[in-house]
Subunit: 319 residues, 2 copies
């Protein structure tokens, strides 16, 4: 089993590589090689891993990566939401042209590997029904969401034409995201758990009634692995799937934090309404009815309590 | 009023140019100039027209076309369904890269013209609810439909970012299409009317129960003009609209033909079932609930009888 991970230096890429190395097999076949590619060097978490610093958009890189052809490709490389909005050309170049370069290389090479593409619920845009069904239209309200939508469309067509065997999985917001606070509008969803657990104050810029859909990093990695392993004939022509999430209000997140870590933790959350962030968040989806993904065996976190526990087990470093 | 039409030598491009020249105004403003661009020379139907033979994908062409900036651009240029399926590279190059080249030129130039893009109901793919609502997801089953979906997504994002003021209109099957029979799987929808009216036999390869959605060329042109004239603020962020059609069974088409042209005409239709065509057609949408477009003032043909009459008035040439 030969695996390729693009965007391997990112948070999810690193966790995926580590998980694959720990399990040592994919599709019941021992893993012999995990190629990690990114613009910066990805940590080689096991002797199975080989890291390469390269830009998939550059001439010849994609062709190299698929020679010899991996059995499974996890295509995680991408410019994130804020950057794609701030820098239109860069988002188009990486999220669309980079993806197309990889798909073209696959088309021109021998073999039809499974390609797992990490899309995003940013492909959806308000107004929404509640819950949002699997056959709801894509009307992204960001360049990032647009670029993910385009990549999804190309993946489905390339799969239909037999260039490769693709599956796109639309990840919900990942929380609790480890690391430092960042400037993303969605950052508080992780921050109000991560910072108090570390004994640090966290700002809550929206109302406790705001509802949002979450998946732990651990579950996101399991989604990717399941997407690599499932029988893709069950997907038919619809190759892009909304992944299940745990839909909770911010108040329910805080209740879960109190249950898992005690009331003193929650007292570190400082409510400081920010109308700008509140307006951005109001355009985001709240709850999905992901019947297709559930029917195909994708297993979400059990509760927001479980999401906090996964963070404590996987990422929490006591101060 | 300065108008640009890409794909101007095509059937709809020619009809659009002629209609604009006849009316002489757009948005209640006299038309001073209609630029026609295509790979072959478009007929200059009026002194207002200037035809240019050029490939919009070629370096500098798109920049030239938007200098000076037209007030309204009708972007009709594209590779049709059969060709996009037979030649993947050509479809991608024209339908995606050509469109992106135009959009990039608009982004880099001064002004925010209205851009009317002719998309297609090929962006939809079976299985379908009946009727198909405006918020149904796009899961095209052809490379053509995929490429139209991608162009729609880019149009919406470019509009959101203020590069231009875009509207995508998804045209139903155009019938009665003038001219000679062609090899398209959908060709019989026009053929079973056009050929008998000319006193020629026509083959019906599917059952009379097959249901499909139609718009006359005349109405398609009116859709484009209405899309150029309407107040686009009413569209909000959702810039791509399914156009209304007349949904009829093949049997109802034939009944209309008898009403308009008499029973002898219909006797020229020869039923000759073709399982291959029947299977292709089974994947096509039958009926849409186009509330948004109707609410925005797009007016469909009144009936299939009207569609036949429009053909007789606009295109029929007695043998």
């Amino acid at each position: 089993m030969h695996v390729l991970i693009t965007g391997a230096a990112g948070m999810l890429g690193q966790k995926l590589a580590r998980r694959l190395a720990d399990v040592g097999a994919l599709r019941a076949t021992p893993i012999e090689r995990i190629d990690l590619v990114d613009l910066v060097e990805a940590p080689t978490v096991s002797a199975l891993c080989a890291a390469r610093v390269a830009d998939i958009c550059h001439h010849g890189v994609a062709e190299d990566l698929v020679s010899p052809m991996p059995d499974v490709i996890f295509h995680l490389a991408g410019v994130v939401s804020g950057e794609a909005e701030a820098n239109f050309d860069k988002g188009m170049a990486v999220n669309i042209d980079g993806t197309r370069t990889l798909f073209d290389a696959l088309r021109c090479a021998e073999g039809t590997p499974r390609v797992v593409f990490t899309s995003s619920i940013a492909v959806f845009g308000a107004p929404f029904p509640d819950p949002i069904p699997d056959d709801f239209h894509l009307t992204p309200l960001t360049s990032y969401g647009t670029q993910k939508m385009v990549a999804e469309a190309l993946l489905a067509d390339c799969t239909r034409r037999g260039f490769f065997d693709g599956i796109g999985i639309r990840l919900p917001t990942i929380s609790v995201r480890p690391g430092l606070p960042n400037a993303a509008a969605s950052g508080f969803f992780s921050g109000i758990v991560r910072e108090p657990l570390a004994g640090v104050q966290a700002v809550l810029p929206v109302s406790r009634e705001v509802r949002h859909s979450h998946a732990s990093p651990r579950t996101a990695v399991e989604y990717m692995i399941h997407a690599a392993e499932l029988d893709s004939t069950a997907l038919g022509a619809h190759r892009n799937l909304t992944m299940p999430g745990v839909s909770v209000t911010v108040g329910e997140q805080i209740d879960a934090l109190i249950r898992v870590a005690g009331p003193n933790t929650a007292s570190l959350i400082v409510e400081s309404p920010d109308p700008v962030i509140a307006e951005i968040v109001a355009g985001w989806p709240e709850r999905f009815d992901t019947q297709r993904a559930l029917g195909l065996g994708f297993v979400p976190d059990g509760s927001y309590d479980d999401i906090i526990r996964a963070y404590l087990e996987d990422d929490f470093v006591s101060g």
